[in-house]
Symmetry: C2
DNA sequence: TTCAATTGTGTTACAGTATAACATTACAAC
DNA sequence: GTTGTAATGTTATACTGTAACACAATTGAA
C-alpha cells in the first residue's frame, strides 16, 4: 500500500447473502455447512479485502483454541468447490463473492496493487471466446483464473491529487 | 499425471529463438544476459513443460556449485521483466515463450491437469475486451494472468481410448 | 587512476504457503 | 451395534519465496 487507506469497501449486508448462497449450494450438493465452514465464511463476510489463509488461521484462533492451517485450507477448498470463495492465484489470497453464478459466468478479478481492493466483473463474451480458443487448440477447459493487476479508481485519483485540498 | 507420458513437446529449435529474443530485449533495455540468466534460459529451452523454481535450482546445482533459490528467483524475475518467461500463478511454475509480443498481446495459457503440458493462445479481441471492462470499473490495468485448467487433446484421446489397439 | 554509482551475484537465514499421514469424532444407514 | 462416510484434529513437514547484507564487476566521471 503506497499511500493512505482510502478505498473502504462493502462489509455490510454481505454476510446474509453469502450464507444464503452457501446454504443453497450445500442443499443442492448434499454437503454440510459446518461450524468451521461457517466461521470461515463469517470472516470473509466482515472483510473488505482478500484474506490470506494464515490471516484466517489467526482470526479463528484463541488462546484456548488453536485452529490449524490445514483445517482452514480444507474449509477454503470446500467453499471454493461450492463456488462461494475464489482463490486469487496471483496473490495467494482468497475472496468470497456470492454472484449467482449462471453455469458459465467468467469472472474477472481486478486487483489493486496499491490498496489491495478487489473488484470483479463478468464479461459476457468472454466465456464463448475462451471456449472457442480452447476448442481451436483441442483443449477441454474445466476451470480458469483471470486476474488483472493495476490501480483502482480511488487510488488513481489519490495519486493524481495526493492532498485533497491542494 | 493420471496416465502415461504421452504428449511430448517441442524441445528442438527452441533454444535459439529464446536466446535471440532475450538478447534483443536486453539490447533494447540496456541490461545484460549474464551467465546465470543464460543458464536458466537454457534449462527452459530443454524443458517441454513448466518448471518449478526449485527444479531449476536442482538442475543448476552440482556438488561443487550450490545455486541458491534466491539467485534463481532473481533470474526468473529478470526473464519475466523482459517478457521471455511467464509465471503460471495457478501452478507456481514458469514457462518460457518467445512470442514477439506486440505490445498488448493478451496471452492465455491452457494448462493440462493431466500431463502438465501448457499451450498458449492469443485472443485478438481479448485485449480490447479486458481494457473495456477495466475502464468500466475505473480500473487501470498494468498486467494480467489468464490461465485455463483442463485437459489437452492428447490426454483426452488417451482417456477415451486407453490402449491404442483395443 | 581512483572514486563513486549501478548492476548483478553469493551467502545465510528466514518468512510465508500448503499438504501428508494418521488419529479421532459425528452421524446416518443398515 | 456395527459399518461407512464426512469432517475435523494433531503433528509434522514439504514447498515457495524473500530479507539483509556482503562481495564482485562494470561504467563513467573527477
Ligand atoms: Zn491506494
Ligand atoms: Zn486501490
Ligand atoms: Zn495425460
Ligand atoms: Zn495432457
Amino acid at each position: 500500500m503506497v499511500h493512505g487507506d482510502h478505498g473502504a469497501a462493502l462489509p455490510e449486508a454481505f454476510p446474509d447473502k453469502l450464507s444464503t448462497s452457501a446454504l443453497a449450494q450445500c442443499a443442492a450438493t448434499g454437503r454440510a455447512l459446518t461450524t468451521l465452514r461457517r466461521e470461515v465464511l463469517a470472516i470473509f463476510a466482515g472483510a473488505p479485502r482478500p484474506l490470506k489463509a494464515y490471516e484466517i488461521v489467526e482470526r479463528l484462533s484463541t488462546p484456548s483454541r488453536r485452529v490449524s492451517p490445514i483445517s482452514v485450507y480444507r474449509s477454503l477448498d470446500f467453499l471454493i468447490e461450492i463456488g462461494i470463495v475464489h482463490r486469487l492465484a496471483t496473490q495467494n489470497a482468497f475472496v468470497a463473492r456470492d454472484r449467482d453464478r449462471a453455469q458459465d459466468e467468467t469472472l474477472v478479478f481486478m486487483i489493486c496493487q496499491c490498496c489491495g481492493d478487489v473488484d470483479e466483473a463478468v464479461l459476457p463474451g468472454m466465456t464463448r471466446s475462451l471456449a472457442a480458443t480452447a476448442d481451436a487448440h483441442g483443449f477441454r477447459s474445466r476451470g480458469h483464473s483471470i486476474e488483472l493487476q493495476g490501480e483502482c479508481e480511488d487510488c488513481r485519483s489519490a495519486l493524481a491529487n495526493p492532498n485533497r485540498r491542494g
